[in-house]
């Protein structure tokens, strides 16, 4: 894949992406695109962003050679990109810092966000506090029940958390509701989307803000191995941590890219969130991409033990990379992810988020397949503290 330059000027990644929104949002999205295109090439803005990533987020995050895990797995050498060590405990903050800076440059004093597990909501509430902005986070009422600690965390940070009662009361409905707020308050409000989905320019700008992950991996792996890795592995819900890792490597054909979706209770059960593995192209939330839908085009509810992967769409650039064959997508079931959660915790003393545990579970298979002379980088996109309650409940432990 040479000289990759997507999206095109209309926000298309091949047949995917684009701008599928109601007329009210067309002009605000044009203004956002123009503001971003101007600031993307502005050295001052990029320096401001880089400085916040360094001093506030704590970047660069380490690339950690997981030696005991490598030995235990008995295959390729495994490195973990430690996004879990970022401020707020996940990769999400890279993007929210970028978008909050963008909001500030556009003169917007109010930010809104959707959140599923609460990670993006916390990352948004965090930067809103940091920049002194008003913050409203939309969250499905089902998710609010499952993620009480993160809801409280957002409130401590000064955000208003609005429960969403419509539809399946989860992430996709929170996204609908945030869009509605944006349509209504577009004059003073910036919508901080949490993943590489939504209408153009969101998939592009979220990818650009997250691609600091892959850029760091490029030079960090050289220090250990003196060469690029053979494979990159990342989990894919909407796909922002995966895009951030993959993007700087898209032109390096020798680096294989693996996105790992949530197979939930198994794809054959229908209770899963494996959009690229089991879905088909359609239009949702402002972009054309793969979707999980019924035969007549209604979006279905998804299932994953990991709330952050529980989404019936996926970023349009992943849809493109799948069709182009540049990236491969696999799915990992709930129980496999839980095994990986425990294994990394016990073997390396690192407790991964359940999202990231999907990537680890797949990396284990891949490490054995590739063999000892190969190098794999796994994106450890978040830490697992937020999931302790989920894991305990599944194992019948009550506090």
């Amino acid at each position: 894949m040479k000289a990759y330059q997507l999206p095109d000027v209309h926000g298309h990644f091949g047949p995917y992406g684009g701008l599928f929104v109601s007329e009210t949002l067309m002009q605000p999205l044009t203004e956002l695109r123009e503001a971003y295109e101007r600031l993307r090439d502005d050295a001052m803005f990029q320096e401001e962003f880089a400085e916040d990533l360094r001093l506030y987020v704590g970047r660069p995050s380490p690339l950690y050679p997981a030696k005991r895990l490598t030995t235990q797995w008995g295959g390729a050498r495994v490195y973990l990109k430690r996004e879990d060590l970022n401020h707020t405990g996940a990769h999400k903050v890279n993007n929210t810092i970028g978008q909050a800076l963008l909001a500030r440059h556009m003169g917007k004093r109010r930010v809104i966000a959707e959140t599923g597990a609460g990670q993006h909501g916390v990352a948004t509430a965090t930067v809103a506090a940091r920049f002194g902005m008003q913050c409203v986070v939309y969250m499905g009422s089902e998710d609010i029940k499952r993620q009480a600690i993160n809801v409280y965390r957002m409130k401590l940070l000064g955000a208003e958390v609005v429960p969403v009662e419509s539809g399946s009361k989860t992430l996709k409905d929170a996204l609908n509701e945030a869009m509605r707020d944006w349509v209504t308050n577009v004059e003073n409000t910036f919508y901080i989307i949490g993943t590489v989905a939504g209408p153009h320019p969101y998939p592009m700008l979220v990818r650009d803000f997250q691609s600091v992950i892959g850029r760091e991996v490029r030079y960090q792996i050289m220090e250990f191995e003196g060469r690029l890795p053979d494979a990159l592995v990342a989990c894919v819900g909407g796909g922002s941590n995966a895009m951030g890792l993959f993007y700087p490597f898209l032109n390096d054909d020798e680096v294989a890219l693996y996105g790992v979706e949530a197979a939930g209770e198994g794809i054959e059960t229908g209770h899963h969130a494996a959009t690229l593995c089991a879905g088909r192209p359609g239009v949702l939330h402002g972009n054309r991409t793969y979707l999980l839908e019924t035969d007549d085009g209604q979006i279905v509810e998804t299932h994953s033990v990991s709330a952050g992967l529980d989404y019936p769409g996926v970023g349009p650039e992943h849809a493109y990379l799948k069709d182009a064959g540049r990236a491969k997508y696999a799915a990992i079931a709930d129980h496999e992810a839980l095994d990986a959660f425990h294994e990394l915790t016990r073997v390396e003393g690192i407790m991964p988020a359940l999202e990231s545990s999907h990537a680890l579970a797949y990396a284990k298979k891949l490490a054995r397949e590739l063999g000892r002379d190969k190098v794999i980088v796994v994106n450890l996109s978040g830490r697992g503290d937020k999931d302790i309650h989920t894991v305990a409940t599944l194992e019948g432990i009550r506090f």
Binding site: H10, L19, F20, V21, P28, T184, E293
Partner: protein
């Protein structure tokens, strides 16, 4: 001349403004939709906007989302919506029908099969809320091939360049969204809407409908003086929701509400005409 053009031409010659009610197909249950459409026509509807239920209606407010959810509980699909239009057409061949919905169900059916089936069923226009003209190329061509009007929205945020773009792409009529927000929101500003309609009229001779936030006879009357059509959705759907288990009352009270709007609009336009006549 399409049914939509004919209808607007007839209204214009009478100096009247079109009244366009919106209902979601299959809400609150599938058997009520066709009888209700006929009852709405008798109560003064000039065109019917039939909502195609979608699981994720991003541009709609909670009232219309709940209507879609009720319809989806009955498994209403785009195919069944077209069956309803076909059934309506067995008794009414003049009232135009516009399908309003989201792109994904149409994508799944396929543009050509959808347009062919819609035209055969007796649909006149299609408004796909999340399909701006920039992305509409092949669907627009397919609709045109089957003589279906492509209805587009214009919004308070649309600058002159977008007015031109949409004026060039639209047929039938243009739907002006009278406020920032989703369907069923409040705070309508009549003067602001009048200014925007005047600006849009410099780009097109298509009739201009106004919708979003019009729910009372007073608001409908105010809009009737400045627009070619008044579109009423959430106010109707909310009444249906209140009567959700009483189908017989829906069939009398909802048309009753509509005829109140009709009377207020006609009175406003008659008064406006009379005062114009007096000024001459």
């Amino acid at each position: 001349m399409s049914r939509i053009e004919q209808r607007f031409a007839a209204l214009r010659s009478q100096g009247r403004c079109a009244l366009i009610p919106y209902i979601a197909a299959g809400d609150p249950e599938p058997n009520i939709t066709v009888p209700l459409m006929h009852a709405l026509v008798r109560a003064g509807a000039d065109i019917i906007e039939l909502g195609v239920p979608f699981s994720d209606p991003m541009a709609d407010g909670p009232v219309i989302q709940r209507a879609a959810e009720r319809a989806l509980e009955h498994g209403i699909s785009l195919h069944q919506v077209l069956d309803m239009v076909r059934a309506f057409r067995t008794q009414d061949v003049t009232t135009p029908i516009v399908l309003m919905g989201y792109l994904n169900p149409v994508e799944v059916m396929g543009y050509e099969p959808f347009a062919a089936a819609a035209a055969a069923a007796g649909v006149d226009g299609v408004l796909t809320v999340d399909l701006p003209p920039e992305e509409a190329g092949s669907l627009k061509a397919t609709l045109a091939k089957h003589k279906l009007d492509a209805i587009y929205l214009l919004a308070p945020t649309s600058p002159p360049a977008r007015m031109r773009l949409i004026a060039g792409a639209a047929s039938g009529f243009i739907y002006y969204v009278s406020l920032r927000g989703v369907t069923g929101a409040s705070h309508l500003n009549v003067e602001e809407v009048a200014e925007r309609l005047a600006a849009i009229r410099t780009h097109t001779r298509l009739p201009l409908g106004v919708g979003f936030g019009i729910g009372t006879p007073e608001a409908a009357a105010a809009m009737a003086k400045i627009a070619d059509a008044v579109i009423v959705g959430s106010a109707i759907v909310r009444r249906m929701e209140d009567l959700v288990t009483q189908a017989d009352r829906i069939l009398t009270e909802v048309p009753g509400f509509l005829s109140g709007l009709r009377a207020a609009m006609d009175q406003a336009t008659v008064v406006a005409q009379a005062s114009r006549g007096a000024n001459r």
